[in-house]
């Protein structure tokens, strides 16, 4: 492949949206209210829309006859490059919102920078996606506040989710070799520069929601190198079920 770094870089971005979209999609019809159900499905739809743009571009870069679906459905677990945060299960609504919020704040900062990419396709996808992701962040932040500053029960559950998910936040700011190469070319975003702003924003909203900012400095990593949590295999079994059971067919 001529531009393997760019290819991997795009997968790193797109896989986050794919896996998070997949998690949210599993909740459709099972939400705590009709309104939240519609909102979570809508976020899932936005993410899959973005995924398609990224994979279509990645397929073009790959240069063989791969399609967006080959990339989405036919890789092995070790080849998915999403961060561990997005693959965390739908434990309860607090975890769903916590995962969304911790990702959205990053995602918005990331896309804001990606708009300036010297790669016109990536820049165009970022410009299109940023409107959607601003809404995602507003939605998840509002729910962090409602659940944090709602009832005693909701505060405990929301705090528990934030504590549980916190260990996956640091990985958002790790760089792979491919990332570094693409940043050099002014195509990629240097995520290390987003870290302070990320924690400032997250901490401010958690504080407004009367939640404690976790103090733990022990963080998990691995997703960006394809080493996932034990949840990932099951998620992929669902995701890949049809393509694996009925290979080489059109749907």
């Amino acid at each position: 492949m001529k531009n393997e770094n760019l290819y991997k870089y795009i997968l790193g971005i797109a896989d986050n949206s794919l896996i998070l979209g997949q998690r949210l999609g599993a909740l459709t019809g099972h939400g705590p209210s009709l309104e939240t159900d519609i909102a979570c499905t809508n976020i899932s739809l936005d993410l899959f829309g973005q995924v398609r743009s990224y994979y279509q571009y990645a397929a073009k870069i790959k240069g063989d006859d791969s399609t967006e679906d080959d990339i989405a459905f036919l890789r092995r677990e070790r080849e998915y490059l999403n961060v561990l945060l997005v693959e965390q299960p739908n434990t309860d609504f607090a975890y769903t919102i916590g995962r969304q919020f911790l990702f959205d704040v990053y995602h918005l900062l990331f896309l804001t920078e990606l708009q300036k990419s010297h790669d016109v396709t990536l820049s165009a996808i970022a410009i299109k996606s940023i409107k959607e992701v601003s809404y995602h962040q507003r939605f998840s932040s509002d729910w962090i506040k409602r659940l944090g500053d709602g009832t005693e029960e909701s505060r405990i559950k929301m705090q528990d989710a934030i504590n549980g998910l916190w260990t996956y936040t640091d990985e958002l700011f790790h760089q792979t070799d491919a990332d570094k190469a693409v940043v050099e070319e002014k195509i990629g975003v240097d995520v290390t520069t987003l870290k302070d702003k990320y924690y400032d924003t997250v901490n401010a909203i958690l504080t407004e929601a009367t939640l404690d900012v976790p103090e733990s400095k022990w963080f998990q990593k691995g997703g960006k190198k394809g080493i996932h949590t034990e949840h990932m295999g099951y998620l992929l079994s669902d995701l890949q079920y049809m393509q694996r059971t009925y290979p080489n067919m059109e749907w």
Binding site: S33, L34, G49, R146, L147, G150, M242
Partner: protein, 322 residues
């Protein structure tokens, strides 16, 4: 109000409907009209919400990104339909929580078709093509029903349903033109969904209890049997077009009637499912009630937060004034 006055109001009311005028929420209406509308509209709303479950079952396993996005959008549309049908019900003085309570306790019904399992991807095609197809036949006449909020909701619902039906048919067509396994999957889905889809249009006219009054109020404009015939006549050529076989050995074109004759519907199965003993009645109800119960703390938190915010707003306003 005297009996005579009520009779007078009723006569005026019926005359308005006969003139094709719309009845609006604040207008006077007979109690029976209100109750019948709450029953039918909420049943419709419940069907949309329960209907999300069999299709939701395939969102994580859709075979391509394009299909996944389309399925998500479709199920989201159904949630939207539920939302504005519940809102239309609320104009008649009943709350969404009360309606949920009726659904969750089994007091209210929903369309029985959603008590069948979705066992293969082709079921997504069959539901869109047949179930949404039958729903449209049921619902298009309701776009001109007498109750304004219901009629307006139905105009939007029907537009989206007709999109869903085309999408379902397209899934089936792709399968029917695909590999032998795909074609077999499509035929199998048609075999399983055909008869329940015919049942969806309701019991035969002889057994249908609400028809006459509903016709007068334009809640119903054609009988169940007429709607069923219309559905069959419309669907058989579509199956022919994509090379699938309708699973009815008695199906035959009747030149004289210019319609298809068809075989006996298994009404025992219909009543079994209606009475709660279909393959998935319990699963659907457990999923619904489970989601509602698991979400209680979330809804409570949202209420508590909103109250706190209100209080804060009042306090800051007071400070400003003083």
């Amino acid at each position: 109000m005297s009996e005579e006055q009520i009779k007078d109001l009723e006569a005026q009311f019926e005359a308005r409907i006969a003139r094709d005028e719309k009845i609006e929420p604040k207008d006077w209406m007979p109690e029976k009209y209100r109750k019948t509308h709450i029953r039918q509209m909420s049943q419709h709303a419940h069907s949309e919400i329960i209907g999300m479950l069999p299709e939701g079952n395939w969102i994580t396993r859709a075979p391509s990104l394009r299909r996944k996005v389309a399925l998500l959008a479709k199920v989201q549309d159904e949630a939207g339909h539920g939302l504005y049908l519940y809102s239309a019900c609320e104009t008649l003085g009943v709350s969404r929580d009360e309606l949920y309570e009726q659904l969750h306790t089994g007091k209210a019904k929903y369309s029985s078709i959603f008590n069948y399992p979705t066992v293969t991807w082709a079921d997504m095609g069959a539901i869109g093509w047949l179930v949404d197809g039958a729903a449209i036949i049921n619902q298009v006449p309701l776009c001109s029903t007498s109750y304004g909020p219901y009629a307006r909701a139905m105009i939007r619902v029907c537009k989206e349903e007709s999109f869903h039906q085309r999408q379902g048919f397209e899934i089936m067509m792709k399968l029917a033109q695909g590999t032998p396994e795909q074609k077999e999957m499509a035929q199998d889905a048609l075999n399983r969904w055909w008869w329940p889809s015919l049942m969806m249009l309701g019991p035969t006219d002889a057994e249908s209890v609400h028809t006459e009054q509903s016709m007068k109020w334009k809640l119903k404009r054609k009988s169940n049997d007429d709607l069923r015939q219309q559905f069959i006549d419309q669907t058989v050529p579509q199956a022919d077009l994509i090379g699938l076989t309708i699973p009815d050995p008695d199906l035959k074109w009747n030149e004289e009637r210019q319609s298809y004759d068809f075989g006996e519907i298994d009404w025992d199965e219909f009543w079994q499912v209606v009475k709660g003993h279909g393959p998935c009645n319990k699963e659907r109800m457990n999923a619904r009630v489970g989601a509602w119960n698991r979400g209680e703390w979330v809804r409570d938190a949202a209420m508590a937060y909103a109250e706190k915010q209100q209080k804060r707003k009042r306090t800051s306003l007071k400070k400003e004034v003083s």
